[in-house]
Symmetry: C2
Subunit: 167 residues, 2 copies
DNA sequence: CGGCATCCTTAGGGATACTG
DNA sequence: CAGTATCCCTAAGGATGCCG
């Protein structure tokens, strides 16, 4: 199963490692600990200790990941205070972070299918309808798209240094 | 945006790091180089040099990743011979590997949206219909599912060591 | 509670050179 | 063409201990 290429797509012109969107996403989150922390954020964790305890990631690494994710705008750090308590910090998912959900669900579903002989340890269901939730390729016209129905086409041209022109 | 939990989901009982499907997937592929090589496999690369050249990954690392991906059953190494040429090796995507496509597309789409100020460098289109392709959460009944419509429920019970019973 | 500093080990990955 | 061997550097991550 390979993706058909249309148009002129010479290697390393617009889909090379430095412009590739997938590579850029991986530059932002690519460590195991980052994904685990994001998972816990989706599961509702907000406090440092929740992240560390529930992921099993050590505190120094948890601190480093949280800092990076805040830098990248995926989590937002905000102080809060419960009545009668001192001020604490909490990490909340931003919109940018929330949009990583399909990535996590896709990873989860693949693991369910190929790395869980005994079945999925947890499942995501559609509230109300109750159906199990997965991730699907879909085009903007609403069609479900199989892998071999994909065509790869050039998008935005690579940014060029402005050419000084005479006159 | 957090996922509502239903049923009893005490921490570290069924969704802890060791049983988590996402963590298991990441144990199989979590390096930048592995994702780039998979991308090229989807784009049609089959030969060692194609992977190395088109990803920009060094040969030693390319060799190590290909070996790992073959071990994991994501790529299959097979000899082939073009007429009049010597035997060569080629790496072909397996079904297990092909099912990673939604993961890669999800990563790509997020990068398009959040890390590409000038727009997507390449786009995936639905052949025939021509619509742009993205990835969507969807339940088994065909409903499109928003992030806040998700419920997390316990799945298969954790495997237990068999209890020796008397009599 | 929410971290940071330090130390250590292992893994990822590039450069270069070499082999079948 | 398809790798392997070697060397070296950096990043990931755990353990421990300390701080406001």
């Amino acid at each position: 199963m390979t993706i058909e290429m249309t148009g002129m797509l010479e290697p390393r012109s617009g889909w090379s490692a430095d412009r590739c969107s997938m590579a850029r996403t991986l530059a932002v989150v690519h460590t195991r600990s980052a994904f685990l922390i994001l998972r816990e954020a989706f599961y509702g964790a907000t406090r440092f200790e929740e992240f560390a305890a529930r992921t099993g990631v050590s505190e120094p690494v948890t601190a480093a990941r949280l800092r990076k994710l805040v830098q990248e705008g995926i989590l937002a750090r905000e102080p809060y205070r419960e009545p009668g308590q001192r001020t604490r910090d909490r990490y909340r998912m931003t919109d940018k972070g929330a949009e990583l959900l399909p990535v996590l669900v896709a990873l989860m579903r693949w693991g369910d299918r190929w790395e869980q002989s005994a079945g999925a340890p947890v499942e995501l269901h559609h509230r109300g309808c109750g159906g199990r939730v997965g991730v699907e390729l879909r085009c903007e016209h609403g069609h479900s798209v199989a892998g071999d129905e994909l065509a790869l086409v050039p998008g935005a041209p690579p940014p060029r240094p402005p050419v000084p022109h005479l006159g």
